[in-house]
Amino acid sequence: MPLTHSLSRNGDTVVLKLTGDFTFGENTAFRAAVDDVCAAAAKVVDVDMSGLGTVDSAALSMLMLLRERVAKTGGSVSLSRPSAQVARILEVVNFGRLFTINA
């Protein structure tokens, strides 16, 4: 399922909702999402993962690069509502040490 994204605002927080399978082959699609987030000049970014079927290690690397991009302007990134399979992958790579993860 191809990766798509949408942005919405919730107060000071920009919510980036991702839908589909987030894997290496979707790096161009995610680049567009990162560009949209940066254009929104958000200080707080919440990545809504509830629509993701799966993530791979390349997707995790891309999330870290998003975190670095947002941090350059003093912002932060959190991850929210991962599915059971995605939450399992986030757990085995200790992503909870890098991101706030909201169930």
Partner: protein
């Protein structure tokens, strides 16, 4: 797979044309028979005796081009194909898909194209993906085969992913703050057993499947 000479192709092989959209390709893989050969794989590799010998010993085999395995949805399509073939139950499908996803991208990027991991690019994602795209677009490299094979021994499913590269080492397991290097951590965690052989050109993963 390195020492190959032309031979007669296996008549059981069904050739899949990958010159189509991602969704159409996933459908073609899902509907294919037990021996898949990607038309984009260089002919000398399709005729490779080692590949055919390998295929003859496995119930399900897919010989895909390196550039094909980098496309979205291939691992999911292969997991569905294995499920349709009765090899993988629904309960194990997600783990098989995730391990396949890591292994086939590793095989193409590190094996076929000989590229290092993202951390070697100091986080320059653009440079990394540009070199991967260049490898995929280079006819000689993009047409190198990545061979996925599956077999079942009672409850244990064994998946092998082979490439024809010069070998690459499995990382010891990256620190959390590293940008890359998490693929093997994911594969080790989601499989019951993981083994790397052929100097890094073969990843074998075992799964305990109860056909739930």
């Amino acid at each position: 797979l390195a020492d190959c000479s032309p031979s007669t192709p296996d008549p059981r092989i069904s050739v899949v044309d990958t010159d189509c959209g991602d969704a159409a390709l996933a459908s073609r893989i899902g509907a294919a028979g037990p021996l898949i050969v990607d038309r984009a794989v260089a002919p000398q590799w399709v005729e490779c005796t080692a590949i055919l010998r390998h295929a003859a010993q496995r119930p399900l085999v897919a010989v895909l081009a390196a550039r094909t395995v980098l496309r979205p949805g291939i691992a999911a399509a292969l997991a569905d194909w294995a499920g349709t073939g009765g090899m993988v139950s629904r309960g194990t499908r997600d783990d098989v898909r995730s391990v396949l996803q890591e292994a086939i991208v590793n095989a193409a990027v590190h094996g076929s194209f000989g590229l290092p991991g993202l951390d070697s690019f100091d986080g320059d994602w653009d440079a990394f993906t540009a070199l991967v795209a260049n490898g995929a677009a280079t006819p000689r490299l993009g047409a190198l085969p990545v061979v996925v094979s599956l077999r079942r021994l009672n409850r244990r499913i064994v998946v092998h992913i082979d490439d024809t590269g010069s070998g690459h080492a499995a990382p010891a397991g990256g620190m959390p703050e590293c940008r890359g290097g998490r693929g093997f951590t994911i594969m080790r965690s989601l499989s019951a057993a993981l083994h790397v052989s052929r100097r890094g050109c073969r990843i074998s993963a075992g799964f305990d499947d109860r056909r739930t």
